[in-house]
Symmetry: none
Subunit: 209 residues, 4 copies
DNA sequence: AATGAATGAGGATTCATTCAT
DNA sequence: AATGAATGAATCCTCATTCAT
């Protein structure tokens, strides 16, 4: 940390502006989606004129892709595979981590799902960014799954992984819609339980063959 | 009701125009969401001038709400609770019906979820329409659930219902994203299975208390 | 001419607006070129809001192409090949017609030349329009030339035609630059004379071979 | 003049930057005209940030005027009045020089003509620069003309000079439009021939009076 | 029941330019 | 001598909506 106030003030200004813009864009976009996020709105929210946004980002697409990217970063940092403990406990622990990360920084998934559902002709970079980030998550979960139950066939791994992620998405959506009426923690607990049991059963079937 | 052929002709034409507009709006909106759906786009897609759209619908909001409403109608018609058979088979059967209805007419849920995720200040009628339609679905499923396992506590019913619907949403989203890579039928089969088992277990717990 | 004022007022309004826009665009564009012609400027000049311009024309390019097209029409109407008289007199007569048409409606050529000189990457429709219109003029003059001196080789016809048109362009530019200092009529007289003599000489050479 | 190597280094670098900017501006401006030449485009083409351009040039106008000035310099250097030989040969020789200078460095005239055709309210310095440069050319040619045929009336000198320059402009434009289809050399040969004959005839007429 | 035309507000983006370093 | 960042005005164009017919 530099102690020279002048250097810090000036040098960092560019990056600070960039950060302010990203913050503003994240909050606007996660509330109103891609189309609903106008540059004017972001400009108002961050205090910088619209033209300044274009100094930091090529275009709206670039801006929102950056929002997704950063948002995924913070999100990932909050989730880390625990080791030790029994498989059941590890899975429950991860499940809790994901649930609370979703409660704390929902921007990533909310905006991502909005983009994912849209199928406009011209592929939006932001959408691609979300999908690739999601693919990465997919691979990690599949790896954990194989690790934990090596007998599972590849087909079963894929089925379970897709189910695990999809249902989590759905629960998140329910929470977004239902607000405090929805007990996300309990739902994720149930979810972890069900997926764990399903994995055991499928592993047993595979082994039997 | 007038028998004057001219009047009838007009009315029939009017209804056909209305239908054409709804068709166009449904296809555009399910691809691009609320904001991405411009009247000009709908006009181009249905061949009628923009001003004609305003003869049939009060405003854009009204149009999209109508799309949701009609879309839900067709959708509901495809799903009907089967009777007879064992509970397990009935649940599996319903599950299949829902999965194939989603494959055939995905507009309803795709557009609905898009709207649900958006949180704009001015409540959009279309969104409200979707949410109320979804509440109705919720009630029906809860009723079925109580019917099938009366021992379940109200809390358990709510948890299971929410989980059942949410995961279905998530699976639908996965299918939308993944396309043919995703085997929606198998996923719903697994889903029905898991929810059924969970219901049994929770019912047993409730009974034990 | 309809005598019903209401019909005329309303029915024609669309076309009248279109005309007003074209008039305004012609005057602005011929003064400031393609880039200098902003829709806002045209809007101010014609009294209609910018968005109305887009009702009548697809985009700026379309608008300016239409200006060129119409402008060429009026221009062509003012020039018609005279018959009777000796070749020399006919050429002199045509030459005068062209000169005075240029003096009266210079928009066409001024804007056209501006566009022709620009070589931007994305071909502008307006430019293409001018070039095709110019090709047509080229063909007509070449035909007249062949008609009048059949002995001329094709090569000579092309050389003379190009020279005739090009020098006329140049004289027009000089007049645009120099204003009243430049006696366009005398210059065209001289030009006609020189081209005529050149044609005679080249025809004689061709015949001699 | 300082001998301090640092200062010299800077100055040399500075002049090289200036040159790079001018090169970039010349290429952009000769392709897209005054309005089409944005500082951002020039910046991209020369690799220096926009703000650096403003260190070397007061504003856009200044930059483009400098382009014209330098461009005219290189151009002039390529054309030098030959002495000795007969008048006819001297004119033919000059004509060839001009034609090949136009083929090699067309930027000057292309940009100049674009500017000349525009008539915007606020006089652009770059345009004035071109016009004054052109006036100078005019004077030189008139002087040559008087020198070569002293009997010519001032009126005839002016007419011939204007015609000579204008037609040359026109031929240049034709070459710009037509590309390789247009044989600029032959056209200039013809042009020189015609002007020469016209001068002879007018001189004879003047003498006769 | 339908439509051609119009319109003000707002969309994304680029403009020429400035300023502190 | 150079530059990263900022900025207000302007760019083209689309928006949802209205209105007279």
């Amino acid at each position: 940390m530099s102690t020279d106030p002048k250097t810090r003030k000036r040098r960092v200004n560019g990056e600070e502006s960039r950060r302010k813009i990203l913050d503003a864009a994240a909050s606007v976009a996660s509330e109103r989606g891609y189309d609903g996020t106008s540059i004017a709105l972001v400009s108002k929210a961050c205090g910088l004129p619209a033209s300044s946004i274009y100094w930091h980002f090529k275009d709206k697409d670039d801006l929102i892709a950056a929002v997704i990217e950063r948002s995924f970063g913070t999100w990932l940092a909050a989730v880390n595979v625990p080791d030790g403990d029994s498989p059941r406990e590890r899975i429950a622990e991860m499940s809790m981590q994901i649930a609370s990360a979703l409660l704390e920084t929902p921007d990533f998934l909310r905006l991502g799902l909005m983009l994912a559902l849209e199928k406009r002709p011209e592929e939006v970079r932001a959408r691609t960014m979300f999908l690739s980030v999601r693919d990465e998550a997919n691979r990690r979960i599949a790896a954990t799954m194989r690790d934990f139950a090596p007998e599972l066939s590849e087909h079963a791994v894929k089925l379970l992984t897709t189910y695990a992620i999809s249902a989590a998405d759905g629960l998140f959506v329910a929470k977004e819609i239902g607000g405090d009426d929805v007990d996300l923690i309990s739902l994720f607990e149930l979810h972890a339980h069900l997926v764990y049991d399903a994995a055991l059963r499928l592993a047993a079937q595979s082994a039997a063959r």
